[in-house]
């Protein structure tokens, strides 16, 4: 039994943090779109969506890029404050980083800052240029992220090998077939076909095509590996009081969160078909007071199909061992019983490094704000499960978000 932690702020409280706007640029290969250009544009999109201007922001949280150290330094040393023209008035600008789960931790950080009064309005910014970067350089860089150089790098492991090992264990433990695993990728593609910002918009995909694609790291085929992409996302959080004053009547709040850091090296995980999800979920349900049956959508990290199947089992969306078959039955599809990764996820909207999780989160907020394009907006969307994971799936992070009325 997980411990009971309560949030120190509730719905309607003046300092209850709420999401009021999101922004996103198209994901894919955009070699002519500069890094600072992308960050600036996406920041302005999110602020416009929130009905705000840069001067309304007092704190910027930066989600890192993985494509280059020079751009990272620009983020760390507050370049965006100056680009947005809020130097002088901006109180704080800093980076949050835990790999793929960064966006979940950025929300926790912003939530804490706002609740406690350290910040009123927080702008969270992310951009990545993985699609335009040198592929070999990125493979080598990724072999040093979440992989201990002295102990595991000598085996020649890398990110697809990690995904493949988790997939192999998951298939062994659950008895899932290659067809059932591939059906997860097809569900994601079905959603990407409704998302003009997705890298694979209007590029239908079948189980047969996936299984006919070349083997990259047995049992993973190339169409089951995440496509590296350029992308940018942003979101704005503020106090309920400030949102209300600005005339915002509907927003999105954090009902609770739960997390579990289960390992650093993949080799130290006791059960790769389980990971940290069951404990993270128990903590999240305890804090929010709701359960998996209460959600209208789920946005769960999907760098590999097995990662998502394992997560939905741990979260309790389906029975243990049934994650892949849950997708094969169409339950996560448009019109299915729990729409899953409605932007197309990392596997079909594009893997933007640390930003893949941010894009899933931003889509969850967008759905709860009822601002998704009509063709993929989930009707009366009130509650969303957001799930993230980083590194060698070292952690399982869950945010439970709900639509909230702010009143007059």
């Amino acid at each position: 039994m997980a411990e009971q932690w309560t949030l120190h702020v509730g719905p309607g409280a003046p300092n209850d943090p709420v999401f009021v706007g999101v922004g996103e640029l198209p994901t894919g290969k955009f070699p002519d779109r500069g890094f600072i250009e992308a960050l600036t544009k996406v920041a302005l999109l999110a602020l416009k969506d929130a009905g705000m201007a840069p001067k309304d922001v007092d704190t910027i949280l930066l989600i890192p890029n993985l494509h280059g150290a020079a751009d990272q330094a620009d983020l760390v040393f507050s370049r965006m404050v100056e680009e947005l023209g809020i130097h002088g008035s901006c109180k704080s600008s800093y980076m949050v980083h835990s790999g793929g789960s960064t966006s979940d931790n950025a929300v926790r950080s912003a939530h804490g800052l706002i609740t406690a009064g350290h910040a009123q309005t927080v702008l969270v910014l992310q951009a990545e240029r993985w699609g335009s970067a040198d592929l070999n350089e990125m493979i080598t860089m990724l072999s040093k992220n979440g992989i201990p150089g002295e102990w595991e790098l000598p085996t020649g492991t890398q990110f697809n090998a990690i995904g493949a090992m988790i997939t192999r264990r998951y298939m062994h433990a659950s008895g899932s077939t290659p067809e059932e695993m591939a059906s997860i990728c097809v569900t994601l593609r079905n959603w990407a076909n409704l998302n003009e910002n997705a890298m694979f918009y209007r590029k239908p995909l079948t189980v047969e095509q996936i299984l006919a694609s070349r083997m990259v790291a047995d049992p993973l085929h190339s169409y089951e590996c995440p496509p590296m992409a350029d992308g940018a996302c942003a979101f704005v959080m503020t106090t309920s009081e400030n949102a209300r004053k600005r005339g915002i009547t509907n927003a999105v709040r954090v009902a609770g969160s739960g997390g579990c850091v289960s390992h650093y090296c993949l080799s130290q995980e006791r059960d790769q078909a389980v990971l940290g999800w069951p404990l993270a979920a128990e903590r999240a349900w305890n804090q929010s007071g709701w359960g998996p049956q209460d959600a209208d959508i789920a946005q769960i990290y999907d760098s590999y199909a097995a990662v998502t199947a394992i997560a939905i089992e741990g979260i309790g969306i389906c029975e243990k061992g049934e994650g892949a078959r849950w997708f094969a039955a169409g339950h996560g599809n448009p019109g299915g019983k729990l729409p899953m990764n409605t932007n197309g996820g990392l596997l079909s909207a594009g893997h933007t490094g640390v930003g893949g999780g941010t894009a899933l989160l931003v889509e969850g907020i967008r759905q709860l704000l009822h601002r998704a394009p009509a063709k993929r907006q989930v009707e009366d969307c009130q509650r969303a499960i957001i799930g993230g994971s980083g590194g060698s799936y070292m952690d399982a992070q869950i945010l439970l978000l709900e639509r909230t009325k702010l009143g007059a």
Partner: protein, 134 residues
């Protein structure tokens, strides 16, 4: 930076044909990977024991493309996670059944440590395991 002593000692073990497990001289528990303080009792009174080299294969994969820099010529190669009978786990290279063929391997197979010469360990300082016939 010089190679830390715990890394050098572990690799020296591999080079002499031994799989070493760090063992806490105070609480007696095995640690893998080796640590700078015992994660169970925080002691720095740490030594080594030789593993019996027997274990179970939790999972594995065969990497066919996209090797990290410097590993291209090894392709294809198989890596896996072994749960040693001593209760600790590690990432290893798996020996093929035949050249470029790992088709006999399954999760939960019994596997055994394979000693290789010092030259091979110098080039790839990692443990190698092979599937035991059922």
């Amino acid at each position: 930076m010089n190679t830390p002593k715990i890394v050098a000692d572990f690799r020296a073990g591999l080079a002499s044909g031994k799989l070493l497990i760090q063992n806490c001289s105070d609480c007696g528990k095995p640690n893998m990977w080796p640590r700078y303080a015992c994660p169970h009792c925080q002691s720095d009174n740490l030594g080594w024991v030789e593993s019996a080299g027997q274990g179970t294969l939790h999972t594995f994969c065969v990497l066919r493309q996209g090797a990290p820099e410097g590993f291209e010529e090894d392709l294809p190669y198989a890596i896996g996670v072994v749960k040693l009978d001593e209760g600790v786990q590690l990432l290893v290279r798996l020996e093929p059944d035949a050249p470029d063929d790992w088709s006999s391997y399954r999760c939960d197979d019994r596997v055994s440590f394979v000693a290789v010469d010092a030259e091979q360990i110098e080039r790839r300082p990692c443990a190698r395991f092979r599937r035991l016939a059922a």
